[in-house]
Symmetry: C2
Subunit: 296 residues, 2 copies
């Protein structure tokens, strides 16, 4: 199985380009990388932002890494973006992803992505309103795919979330979005499926099942976020912990569905208060367990 | 005791101005409010940003609320700001707070604040480097206090955090910062002390003690963040949960230290995946328990 790492574990800690590259390439021994906007905020003034992001990307590449995509993290996920109740807020969602596309292009990375958007509590309860807002959001993503194409990107990515007031949430939602966008975007829009989201039992119950996602959305799944979880919250635990996502299970899924290039990005999120040395040791131990399953 | 609420619980959920005001003033029955930048990002284009933030502030005030301050939340805390290893990043920290001051002024709110800044993993291990960066950061806050004064603000606020690689962390750090800035800022810079930060045992051990904070920094403490916690992580649980911060303990502290105006802002943070109706019911129940202790 093709292992990679999302850089969320590194935020605030290893942010100097050389330090980041050393941790990822040398300490963790990882080649495939998904860069998080939690390292450099797409909203920052463009010239400084691109200089900072490019310096990190260049250092990672010099160390042998391949940055496959850039992705929204905690800061981006704090806001509603494309499914906001207010037109100004939706336009800010458009501007946010547009700026992230600019940053991604400046970094020389071929793909960018994020969750699609969040309804307000009131809108989430109104099916007609949800549908209207979804249509508007789809048009904005079609527009942004054209923009991303013009900036040299090859792909945009959407991450389904385990939140009933957002979209897409269920595997059927994701398939509907992919079908809606199919043939209408200048570059493909594809899915990043997070195992901890898909296996969230309080919402999905018996449909907390990665095989369901593979059956329903298989051909649209471009990459995975992998995390350890107990299925009761969106944990983003390391694979040093016990949980429902064993390295063996990841490997079985890879083999059973004949995956070849749909990178498993370990997206491990530590509390800000966890000491740096514990994070580093734990990341190394978790990646070692994953690599053992990949090699088995 | 003077109870208030930080709006972190509401992000993504109750963001329409009328919905936000209804939840805070009617459902929770709260008067004193600390607005979070997780509702409106200081980095957004100024005209739209200020229109959105002002609409929420106006709706809260029409419902009878008093917004005492605006404060950095999750999105802001994702980045290192004033103690970054890189001059560009430090300047972005300056620009970030400057933009938040502009937004706060546009909202007609008299104070703004955030944690002070985060060192990189490497810098945190180098005492001389920490000291150099702290000096630079202090100069930037002195400059920003002058700017905030010119924009009509009355106060800037700093929140200590339970993270050894940031600053201020310990009560003595906070006292040192207040002493360093004393008499050098155009408007006062004061502290917001978070109970769950102060009571974080893995770092502070026997110094996980709010009386120590009151003794060391009492005259500089302008407000508190209150949260329920087990003392083992920065939980931001609701007061419907058991933990080390009972409403009775909050009341005892208020009485023992003769507090009068240092608002206890409940800063409750829910997982994004918690359903809206559970968040609302839980917030109502938690505030009811706090009010009972205030009235006792």
């Amino acid at each position: 199985m093709k292992l990679g790492v999302n850089l969320s574990f590194a935020i605030k800690r290893w942010i100097e380009p050389a330090a980041l590259a050393d941790v990822v390439a040398e300490k963790l021994g990882v080649t495939y990388v998904q860069y998080t906007w939690d390292l450099v905020d797409p909203w920052w003034p463009a010239a400084t932002r691109d200089r900072l992001a490019r310096a990190q990307a260049d250092a990672l590449r010099r160390a042998g890494c391949v940055i496959e995509s850039t992705f929204g993290g905690l800061a981006s996920y704090t806001y509603n973006h494309f499914l906001s109740p207010d037109e100004d807020l939706r336009r800010l969602g458009h501007e946010h992803l547009k700026r992230a596309i600019d940053m991604t292009a400046a970094m020389g990375v071929p793909a960018a992505g994020m969750p699609f958007g969040s309804y307000s509590a009131a809108d989430a309860l109104d099916p007609a309103r949800r549908e209207d807002l979804l249509k508007i959001a789809e048009e904005m993503w079609i527009d942004l795919a054209e923009y991303a194409c013009s900036q040299g990107l090859a792909e945009l990515l959407v991450e389904p979330v385990p939140v009933g007031t957002e979209f897409p949430t269920w595997a059927a939602d994701a398939a509907r979005l992919m079908t809606d966008l199919d043939g209408r975007t200048a570059i493909p829009v594809r899915l990043v499926v997070d195992w901890g989201h898909a296996l969230y039992e309080p919402l999905f119950g018996k449909e907390a099942d990665m095989d369901l996602w593979a059956r329903t959305c298989g051909s649209w799944i471009r990459a995975h976020h992998i995390q350890q979880t107990d299925g009761q919250l969106d944990r983003h635990w390391s694979f040093t912990r016990e949980g429902v996502v064993t390295p063996r299970r990841l490997r079985d899924h890879w083999d059973r569905w004949g995956l070849t290039d749909q990178t498993y990005f370990a997206e491990i999120i530590y509390p800000f208060e966890t000491p740096d040395e514990i994070v580093l040791d734990d990341m190394i131990a978790g990646m070692t367990r994953l690599r053992a399953a990949a090699a088995a």
